[in-house]
Symmetry: C14
Subunit: 92 residues, 14 copies
């Protein structure tokens, strides 16, 4: 188990878990928001526009949290500074 | 337990867990959204169109989170940069 | 514990767990959706068609998440690239 | 602990856990669906037919998730490719 | 710890856990279904027949999930292919 | 730790856990069913007979799940094929 | 750690845990049933007899599950076949 | 760590845990039952007697489950057959 | 780690955990009972006496469960038969 | 790791955990009781006295459970018989 | 890892965990109590004084549980008898 | 791993966990209290002052629990008596 | 496993987990806030502006907590002082 | 694994976990508070100002708990006294 293998293994596991765990909160939160938007439209059809607008702003903010997790997973797989350093050191 | 075997094992486990854990949130969230859409249609049949439209936008955003997990699982199985590097090193 | 045995063991465990854990969310989500559809039909029998249509679209999207898990389990059992590589290496 | 014993052990455990864990979600989901169907029939006896029809479609979809788990358990016990390969190798 | 002992141990544990864990979901699900059936009968005594019929179909489907678990436990105890193979190998 | 001791230990633990864990679901499910039966009788005393009959069918089905667990525990303690085989082998 | 000590230890632990874990479900289930019986009597004092009778049948069935656990604990402590065998072997 | 010490340690731990875990269910169940009895008395003061009588029968059945746990703890501490055997063997 | 130290350690840990875990159920149960008693008094001030009497009987039964745990903790600390035996053996 | 150090360590950990875990139940239970007392006073200001009296009796009983835990923690820190014995033995 | 270091480590961990875990129950309990006090004041402004008085008595009792935990943490850090003994022994 | 390193490590971990775990209860409790204060103001705007005053007293008491955790974390990082002793011993 | 590899591994894991766990709370909290905003708009369309303004302030504060987690993950990956120190030491 | 590496590793992990776990409570608490503020504004638009003011005070207090966690994470990364001491000792 040399140094590079270890860093590779840890990066793979972390990338997967980060996205997996990080999908729970946003998915449930968005589900709640969408659910209530539909109720609100059914109650006040005339406010359809401002409800939809507020919903989209809210979904964007919640989605941004899921995207932070996705970004960190991607960084760990494709732009991992620790891995780059290990390759550089191995090739040096 | 050479280096390649370890990376393969870790990739397999992570791909499976990432999709498995990552399916819980979106599935429950979509279930909630669909559930409320049906209630809303029953309450306001005339708003059927705007309810369905809002539902589909919401489902798309929640589904996207499940797809992030699926993408990461697929990357880990079929386009894993750490695995490619290990093969290259072994063949070099 | 040679390399192939390890990969085989890990693939078996991951395939089983991925499907098992991945069945919880979709099954509960679909249960919720079906449950509400029945309530909606009881409330608004005249909207029976649009309720059923929306329900089927929703079930399809939730089922798709369960199918992602099933696909990954099948790939790990029958089309596992790491296993193919290990066999190729062993036979080479 | 030779290679075949390990694969056998892992297959047994995974088959059992996969079915056990995979029974929780569908059973609860079906319970919810049936529960609501009975309420709906009590509320709208005249819609008995369309409620029952929708219930059966829904139960079929949820049951299908339990069956995916059962299929994977059966594959692991009776048609396990890793086990076949191990036997072939041992007999070769 | 020879090979047969290990397989026997693992089969025993898995059979027990599979049935134990697999009893939670169906028992709760059936409890919910029965509970609601009683409420429905109290609300609509005239629909007693169609409620009971739907209940029995639902219970049958939920019970079938518990029976999958029981079947797998029985297979692991009395018709375990891995155990048969181990005995054959030991006797060969 | 010879082979028989291990099998004995594992059988004891599994028998106990199987019954213990397997008692949770049925007990709660039956509690729910009984609870609702009492409410239903209080609401519709005239339907006392059909409520009680449906309750008993339901309790029987839920109890059957607890009995599956009890059966498996008893098999593991008193009719364990792996243990019989170990004794036969030891005596042979 | 000879063989008898191990079996004794495992039997003690299993007997205790089996009863402890097995007390949770029945106790909560009976609590629910009793709770609802009191409500039902308060709502329909005239049905006092049939409510009490149904309650006792229900409590008996739930208590039976707790008693299965108690029986298994007692068997493991006082009539453990594996322990008898170990003593016989040690004395033989 | 001779044989007697191990049996003593295991008996102590099991006795404590059995009572501790076994107190959760009955205590919560009795709390629920008492809680509802008070509500029922407040609703139907005239039924005070039959409510109290039913409550006491119910509490007795739930308390019996806690007492099973207490009995097993006491047996493990003061009348443990495995411990008696170990002392007899040590003194023999 | 001689035999007495081990028994002492195990007794200390078990005594603490038994009381700690055993306090959760009774405390919550009593809280529920007291809570409902106050509601009942507010609803039916004239039944103040029978409510208080029933409450005290109920609290006494729930408190008795907490006291079982306390008794076992005290026995393990101050009247532990295994410890007495170990001291006797050490002094013998 | 001599015998005294072990007993000291175990006593410290147990004392802390016993109080920490033992604070959860009573604190939540008392919170519930106080919460309902305030509601009851708001509903029936004239019963202020008997409500407050019942509340204090209830709080005293729940607090007593927290105090059992505190007593055991204090005994373990300042009057630990196992520790006294260890010191006596070390000094003897 | 000499004896003093071990006792110091254990004391640090226990002090921290005891306060951390011990803060959950009281904080939630006080939150509940305060929450209900505000509702009660809004419902019965004229009872403001007796509500506030009862609230403060209740908060004091709940806070006392948090303070027991704090006291034990402080004793473990600043007046730990086991630590004093270890220092005395080291210095002796 | 000399003695100072161990104490440093343990202090760091404990300080972090103590604050982290200790933030859950108070934050949720305060959230509940604030939430209800807003409802109360909306219901009884005229009682705005006494509601706000009671809220602040309550928040102060809940916050004090969070501050106990913070204090213990700070003591462990900056005024740790065990660390001071270790430094003194190392420097002596 | 030299020192740099260990620090790299730990940084990767911590960065991933910190973001993953830290996404759960904010996502659920924002989901709740958005959900209620939509209800409020449907109830009081005329207050649309002050509701939206309050919502955005609230979302900003909740989002800030998610951003603290993201900041710490980024610091650990790209500006880790411990890693810088390790590189400096290795290069020195 | 020299002393500095260990302290660095532990600091990294603790900083990440402290912020991650510490974000759950405040985020949920703030979500609750904001949610209720919006309801309150919709109910009593005229009290908009005092509701908003109370909300901001409450959010500030809850946010302060999240900031305690953030402060401790920052101290552990950038102003860690144990790390400073280790560097000083290494450089001395």
């Amino acid at each position: 188990m040399d140094s590079m293998t270890l860093i590779a293994m840890v990066s793979i596991v972390t990338a997967g878990l980060c996205m997996a765990v990080g999908s729970i909160g946003p998915a449930l939160g968005e589900g709640n928001a969408v659910k209530q938007a539909l109720t609100a439209i059914a109650q006040q059809p005339d406010e359809r526009n401002s409800i939809t607008r507020t919903l989209f702003v809210g979904l964007a903010m919640i989605e941004s949290i899921a995207i932070y997790c996705f970004v960190i997973s991607m960084i760990l797989i494709f732009a991992n500074p620790f891995w780059s350093h290990a390759i550089a050191r191995a090739g040096g």
